[in-house]
């Protein structure tokens, strides 16, 4: 996009006018010297035509003012040097006076025509530049990609300003371009009720103002579009939240009631059959109540964490964590032996930036998921290795795997919405694992295990101190 050509006082640019004057004062004496050297009594006609050509050329180059200057100067020269009486402004023959006047009139007409043509060319160029600006501006608004900042910089470029910025009604800068330094050549335009556009480094004339009005209207449209997009996103988020909420109610009601029912039945049994219970029965009821309440506690913790992850208020405290330590702690929590989990940990120390508590829950979730989906007798494999500036922990199983189409779904919470299957839980595990991982600035991905099965890849950044040592 080009800067908008400026409409100057004259029709032509200042540079061309100066060039015209320079041409008039250099070519004029040169031509005079040539004609004077070659002059003859009958050469007056060709002399006049020669000067005429000079004036036309000057008019073509510099427009009306240099041409006028050249016409008057050449007229005087003709009169002084070539028209009798020579070396005098006086003219003896009235026909010569008439010829001189005609000559000056012709020169004026030609230079005026040239000037008009130049003015129209200039106006046409400007109109097409304006059209280009407007098309560009409209395109940005329609395409919507960061339309507002683009419009602000286009405005600055178009008017050849040193700086432009858009300020919202509460005073925050929405977009800025160039060097917005306040000086006396400062223009502020209201963009509807959505802000103020400040233009610095050039005062704008009426034509430019009209163009600016159009741009400002577009800018207002772009701002409105941004607001609408935000509202639409918020509405989507609300709808999604609503969906999650009703799914949660369905699934949670069953999953909360189940352990709660067992716990209440156990405690109720202890109370109602007080004297009739053997010690063994009493102990079993207590264990049942205890286990059920633990199940309930885990469930409630997971639910709270899901809502924290979804609300984006998960408390994460990142510290360097040794990958091998984290894996071993998770294996320990699962109570798994070497026949169920094979470890393949890098001999060198791998320290990653993570929240140890969250990381352990991610690893326990992912590993227990892998164990759940692996046929008994087949161990799962857990490896940790450095990959670029991150540490990758892979949990590899040889279970049935998951089709690529379901890989996004498997990370969504509340997938199981029926109460017919108590073994799978609410499907919070993987959703939480992914939420926790991205909370720690990492990624959790699923891919196929070579030869069948699923590989979960947990990738977390290497701890910064380690990065510095390496580099």
């Amino acid at each position: 996009m080009y800067p908008l050509p400026r409409l100057t006082g004259g029709s032509l640019g200042r540079r061309r006018v100066i060039a015209g004057f320079v041409l008039a004062v250099t070519a004029g004496p040169l031509l005079t010297w040539l004609l004077y050297a070659l002059r003859a009594p009958e050469s007056i006609t060709s002399d006049v035509l020669a000067y005429q050509v000079l004036v036309v050329v000057v008019a073509l180059v510099g427009g009306i003012w240099p041409a006028l200057f050249a016409a008057v100067l050449s007229g005087l020269t003709l009169d002084y040097l070539f028209v009798a009486p020579q070396f005098s402004i006086a003219i003896s023959d009235p026909r010569h006076l008439w010829a001189l006047l005609l000559y000056i009139a012709g020169a004026l007409l030609v230079s005026w025509t040239v000037d008009q043509a130049a003015r129209r060319a200039n106006a046409a160029e400007r109109a097409s530049a304006e059209a280009a600006i407007l098309a560009d501006v409209a395109g940005h608004v329609l395409r919507g990609e960061s339309a507002v900042p683009a419009l602000v910089s286009r405005t600055r470029e178009a008017f050849g300003l040193s700086g432009a910025r858009l300020i919202s009604p509460d005073g925050t800068v929405i977009a800025t371009d160039g060097e917005p330094v306040r000086d006396e050549r400062f223009t502020a335009v209201e963009v509807g009720t959505r802000g103020t556009l400040e233009l610095h480094g050039q005062s704008l004339d009426a034509t430019e103002r009209r163009l600016l009005d159009v741009i400002v209207t577009q800018l207002e449209g772009a701002l409105e579009r941004v607001d609408l997009a935000q509202a639409a996103r918020a509405a989507d988020a609300l709808a999604a939240t609503d969906q999650v909420r009703s799914a949660l109610l369905n699934a949670v009601s069953h999953d909360v009631r189940r352990p709660l029912a067992a716990a209440i039945a156990s405690v109720g049994g202890l109370r109602s059959a007080e004297g009739r219970l053997s010690d063994a029965d009493r102990a079993e009821l207590l264990v049942t109540a205890d286990e059920s309440l633990q199940t309930l506690t885990r469930l409630v913790t997971d639910l709270l964490d899901v809502s924290r992850v979804e609300a984006g208020v998960l408390a994460v405290s990142l510290h360097p964590v040794d990958a091998a330590d984290a894996v071993l702690a998770a294996v320990d929590e699962l109570g798994a032996g070497p026949d169920t989990i094979e470890l393949d940990l890098d001999a060198s120390t791998l320290t990653m930036q993570a929240d140890a508590v969250l990381l352990q829950r991610v690893l326990v979730n992912v590993m227990s998921n892998a164990l759940q989906h692996t046929p008994a007798g087949l161990p799962i494999r857990v490896s940790a290795l450095a990959a670029g500036d991150s540490v990758e922990i892979r949990v590899i199983d040889h279970g049935p795997g998951i089709s690529p189409g379901r890989r996004t779904e498997m990370f969504a919470p509340f997938q199981r919405l029926s109460d017919a299957d108590n073994a799978t839980g609410l499907g919070l595990g993987l959703a939480l694992s992914r939420g926790f991982t991205s909370g720690m600035g990492g990624t959790l991905l699923a891919e196929d295990t070579a030869g069948g099965g699923l590989t979960m890849i947990l990738s977390l950044p290497i701890a910064p101190s380690l990065l510095e040592e390496n580099s």
Partner: protein, 140 residues
């Protein structure tokens, strides 16, 4: 008195088994719908306590299957608390509906009430005809 407890939650079954046994019931337990029907045919319980959400065969289907040959009192104990679920279960032939979690005292009282009404003679499974619970159960 023999009671069949059909529920897929082992913890609840364990708690109920001990509690009901302490209150004089002879408890048999089934972990899913198919096992519940098989056990009901084999053990001929005086009462059936049935969960709705079970693997293999849904509780409602179990009620239909049982009602095909038996008029044993069926009490549904379910985590589903919707009105539609209750209507479906009772229409299918259940005698009462208890929502989880429940108070043991209330459950025991309900079991006593159902058993007081007397157990109607159950037909042999081979008869296979549908019998409405209202035939054996006196109208209130």
């Amino acid at each position: 008195m023999k009671i069949l407890v059909a529920d897929d939650d082992p913890q609840l079954v364990r708690a109920l088994r001990i509690t009901l046994a302490a209150h004089g019931w002879d408890v048999v337990a089934a972990p899913d719908g198919t096992a519940a029907i098989a056990l009901a045919a084999k053990e001929r319980p005086d009462l059936v306590m049935l969960d709705l959400g079970m693997p293999h065969l849904d509780g409602i289907q179990v009620i239909h299957a049982l009602r095909g040959w038996s008029s044993v009192p069926i009490i549904v104990v379910s985590g589903r608390s919707g009105s539609a679920d209750k209507v479906d279960a009772l229409d299918a032939g259940a005698d009462d509906y208890v929502t989880k979690p429940f108070q043991v005292d209330e459950l025991l009282a309900l079991l006593r009430a159902l058993s007081r009404r007397g157990t109607a003679p159950t037909k042999s499974p081979s008869f296979g005809s549908l019998t409405s619970p209202s035939i054996w159960r006196p109208r209130r």
